[in-house]
Symmetry: D2
Amino acid sequence: MEINGVTIDNTYAEAFPTWICRIIITAVTQEWARKAATEATGFATSAIGCPCEAGIEQELEGMQTPDGRPGVSILICASKKKLKDQVVERLAECVLTAPTTAVFNGITTAEEKIAVKLHFFGDGYEYQKEVGGRKCWVIPIMNGEYVGEEEFGIVKGVAGGNFFVMGENQMAALVGAQAASDAIAKVNGVITSFPGGIVASGSKVGSLKYKFMKASTNEKYCPTLREKVPDSKIPAGVKAVYEIVIDGLDEKSVAAAMAAGIKAAVYVPGVKFISAGNFGGTLGPYKIELHKVL
Amino acid sequence: MEINGVTIDNTYAEAFPTWICRIIITAVTQEWARKAATEATGFATSAIGCPCEAGIEQELEGMQTPDGRPGVSILICASKKKLKDQVVERLAECVLTAPTTAVFNGITTAEEKIAVKLHFFGDGYEYQKEVGGRKCWVIPIMNGEYVGEEEFGIVKGVAGGNFFVMGENQMAALVGAQAASDAIAKVNGVITSFPGGIVASGSKVGSLKYKFMKASTNEKYCPTLREKVPDSKIPAGVKAVYEIVIDGLDEKSVAAAMAAGIKAAVYVPGVKFISAGNFGGTLGPYKIELHKVL
Amino acid sequence: MEINGVTIDNTYAEAFPTWICRIIITAVTQEWARKAATEATGFATSAIGCPCEAGIEQELEGMQTPDGRPGVSILICASKKKLKDQVVERLAECVLTAPTTAVFNGITTAEEKIAVKLHFFGDGYEYQKEVGGRKCWVIPIMNGEYVGEEEFGIVKGVAGGNFFVMGENQMAALVGAQAASDAIAKVNGVITSFPGGIVASGSKVGSLKYKFMKASTNEKYCPTLREKVPDSKIPAGVKAVYEIVIDGLDEKSVAAAMAAGIKAAVYVPGVKFISAGNFGGTLGPYKIELHKVL
Amino acid sequence: MEINGVTIDNTYAEAFPTWICRIIITAVTQEWARKAATEATGFATSAIGCPCEAGIEQELEGMQTPDGRPGVSILICASKKKLKDQVVERLAECVLTAPTTAVFNGITTAEEKIAVKLHFFGDGYEYQKEVGGRKCWVIPIMNGEYVGEEEFGIVKGVAGGNFFVMGENQMAALVGAQAASDAIAKVNGVITSFPGGIVASGSKVGSLKYKFMKASTNEKYCPTLREKVPDSKIPAGVKAVYEIVIDGLDEKSVAAAMAAGIKAAVYVPGVKFISAGNFGGTLGPYKIELHKVL
């Protein structure tokens, strides 16, 4: 299969379940909501070494938020055990501390909820108030009053949706990956948790040589090792590969994001080949086929 | 003391020691170095609930970096015990994974060093190479080769330098705090770890009411509690307070940052009063007096 | 009428006709399309002293553009006599010169069209090609090939839609105006041509004192002259006013933008009063009433 | 000559004189100064079709500006005849109209000055005031008071300093040009007036085929015409060329900018060749040799 002259590999992305909490952060301007969200979703690229995976899902206009102010929604993804703690600490340290913010539950229909009791920070001066039909706590703070809900829906979502952008050189692959990441940023229900939405050093599970490593370089996809490893997956003429990794609220959203990203990458000159990462079905139950989503 | 009609309180900021690692991140463009650095320094506002405090210190031109490429330097601040682990995980998950990055030791003169052995990720394909006089490891990855030093100097620095920007209303205080934060961003040797460099909800140690809380709202500095607490520190006419918190390589840098920030804030119309936070000398050994630094 | 405690004046914005050309600019990434568009729409705030009024209308995803690449649409507004020349020069100097750009007609249904013959730049090496169903010229240039349509629809639109954001001080009014401008940026069919979408120095036609001036300060809306002019329009307690000026493809779009902007501004603390500018019906045929659009 | 494996052509950039006005724009934050400056320097890429060439020279901290606020300096370049009119209109329409701005003379030592009488906008309510030792006019406007000097030094500077970044494909050349443009942005005394600081469609004077054209594509530097024109200047393996054009206050600044830009571009993988544009010495008196500046 080819789009705009770029070969789309006949393969699939292997993805696996994760628990996800969606949080709406509003502020006096879009910019301040984004600053809080950026801090709150930092150090959260991969569950391998970060305490969670997180990112900004979308921008919200005033008419889309409970308090009428502009905002962003974020997704925080982790095992059920870790998720509550991560939501508590990231809201407490990175959003409650940010200028003019308020937070709201982003999945009101979720069957399961976690309690995030920030109101104890009020040391007794806190009180309850309804905002936009939501039951909130108001905490007196230095810049006035912080307002926030304290129950957040969580759902079982999909982590590790992915595809590879391969280019005739590094800059072609990089701009291709950037175009893909930009396109995915406009798809609802998903995040790309890595810096700029792009992974430069995709990994395999474990290590052949260093047994203490949980993950190591995926040598079959390293262009400089093409002639050195027996079963390189690097097509002829490819000099650089970037992986786009997507977490989302459900398989459909992840598939839509993969489609949007691939369709964007193929218009960047020098992008040669699109593939996806899987482990022969051993990692996760979701198999998202490239040819099917496109 | 007054500057541009704004009263500068005759008080001091109380600061305390912290261990700091300074890391140079370079990339193909300034923008990509910044994206990696932003992710690597996220979820790192306050040691109270984050695993470390971290931020971007400054932009670096090609002539200032070992490999001739543009970059940024970041500071990661934590107890000596936690620092190494945080540097390892943040570089491994947020910088090694980012497009085109390289990392270098940012304090070559430090007496103490930490080893950050990312090269095991190479699974045996890694090799050593000198770059700009630095002994680096090269790791084959998907986008080509990652290059990085693995020994990073650490020094005993200063955390918790601070001042308060008080305004006649919230927006005046906010823009005042933003002008301060922008000015501090140009001072070398320091970071402001909170979102946008600004704290909206400054805290006191512990809680009067909830004994399980490590920190709680600093009610004496809450404008909405001015009439409700016996010893409010909110001057008449002040409706909002933002705290600027500064970590730096030494007391001199922190003092310079405080001076630069205050001198910027006082030019924003509606900023009324500048003060600073201290705990009567019980928290830390550094007392940075506002009148002295200005 | 009040929204969120802010008084909405019972008045109307007076607007007038203008000719408008809508142009789609695409590029290899959203960012490069935006850079070209920013340059092409600069020095274009007000027809009083600029050769046209212009701005970015909206971001476009690949699926919304003829060549499948990301882009932005811009509006260029001027008298029919000046419009063609402005479109030619701005595309020739600011878009054809920008990396990786292509341009397409943004109003295919328009009855009137202007010809913008950039292909002569090709000096005989240019050729024709169909892209996404559009008849384009391809011009060999240094970075490869430029692609563009050369016929652009123009329509009679509406200029000068406006409202005033009045605040208890300058920073409250400024952030209120910024929130309004951000909200309007998401409305289709309109632009705000001033820096950041905001006017700090709204004018009246002509001058009472200096007869050679085409426009001068609108002293009735100057807060510092409130006690000095006989019929000041500044309500008690208002210390700063910003005007948001909107040009759009039709009256409906301009009205929608006014509504979106006002609804955003009223959530910024310290915004006190919303009004609009008119000249008693002497300037233009459109009267857009604030209470009606909200 | 080679730097980092990239060939530097043994040639020179040919530049010519221009008159330049340097203006300092300050505002309540750096961001607002930048927004005003961006609008004021738009539609100003090339004197061929724009009324002037203009751009942002550098960011200024509060301690570098007459009123203690953050700002930017801009350069406006044109013939002496056109320069005054362009400065007047661009300050009147794009800076006086922008939130919280003030303007100051950026070359106090210049022998020649132009008068820019914006104060008539005050319609008699304006008055004089000294700010930071500068004689300013204060004009009551909607957002409070505008402050500005009205005499601006002009000097004879240098326009058209340039070099070419040639890449093995378009994306390599583009990122190389971007790295160059970023580096030049940190050099004082110069601007790059094109979108993002980069020219995609460098031209030659006149046209061989269309006699009415003032400029047309420089076919010798068009990669797609390499086999079609007799004396192509495109080296083997080069698929895209970007030109960086620099205007500056003097030859030394332009040379420094060329050096900084070239040294940055050569670190981008896929950049192959650096050259420069000249017309055999027929265009201008300045010959800036690449090997000499490096």
